[in-house]
Amino acid sequence: MSAEAQGHATGVEPSGEFGVFVFLVSEGLLFSALILGYLVARLAPGADFAAGSRELSLPLGTLNTAVLLSSSFCIALATIWGSERSRWARLAALATVALGIVFLCIKGYEYFEEAQKGLLPFRDMSDRYPKAEPQHLRLFFDVYLALTGTHALHVISGIGLVGGIALFWRRLARPAHTLKLAALYWHFIDVIWVFLFPLLYLAR
């Protein structure tokens, strides 16, 4: 099928947008399954997820959410400016990458703090919480690491994608269009965090 004929009479421009959404559906199902694992663990009898959640840093989690929301705003601006062929598009894409790196740094610092407290990774915490049924806290932190770790891997690939487009802007045939498709992925990562943040940090 020729590129022009693709998406004919479906309301979709032959743009790759549909392909990106199909990919995002598979990604959505991956995270849905992980979050379902979280819910099943949380609903298990005796599981004390509130105790685990209280061990996380709410200020850092909130800050990180704000950083990721700002990065989504940045890449939204980049797509608007890209469609207007403004030179600001590339700068806004670079700012998005910078905010993504800030997000990872804060997340990394949180992991570091939790490791200092003996909560990560995969530690037996019976010495630290002799009375508080540590296996339930352990369960929370295993799920926490799986969810935030998978999300962080997606942020890293998003940084590579958007950063690559910004760096090779002049060599791309349709940079603004490629950026628009990458922006869909970036917004998707943001949506996932929007659900992870209350599940992990606000279950107090």
Binding site: E17, F21, L29, A33, L43, A76, L77, L184
Partner: protein
């Protein structure tokens, strides 16, 4: 999407974030989880509708998103009904 729409969405997202964090300091029991879920859905809808252009997307893309929601309902419905009917 205009810059104005993007800016309003961004401000809305930050306000929703403030609301959901503030609500954790008010003990409401199961109400806290409900507020958090409602705010998360509202934020996701804002990002999807405005930033991801779902408001103006064609039938095929809307259908793709509907398929995702359908599979999620199936996966969560079949798994969680076991927990809630024990």
């Amino acid at each position: 999407m205009t810059i104005r729409a993007a800016l309003l969405t961004y401000v809305g997202l930050l306000l929703l974030l403030a609301l959901t964090v503030a609500s954790t300091f008010v003990p409401l029991g199961a109400g806290n989880s409900l507020i958090n879920l409602a705010v998360a859905v509202a934020k996701a809808a804002l990002i999807g509708m405005v930033f991801m252009h779902l408001r103006r997307s064609g039938l095929l893309v809307s259908l793709t998103v509907a398929v995702l929601l359908f599979w999620i309902c199936l996966m969560y419905g079949l798994t969680l009904n076991d927990y809630f009917t024990r």
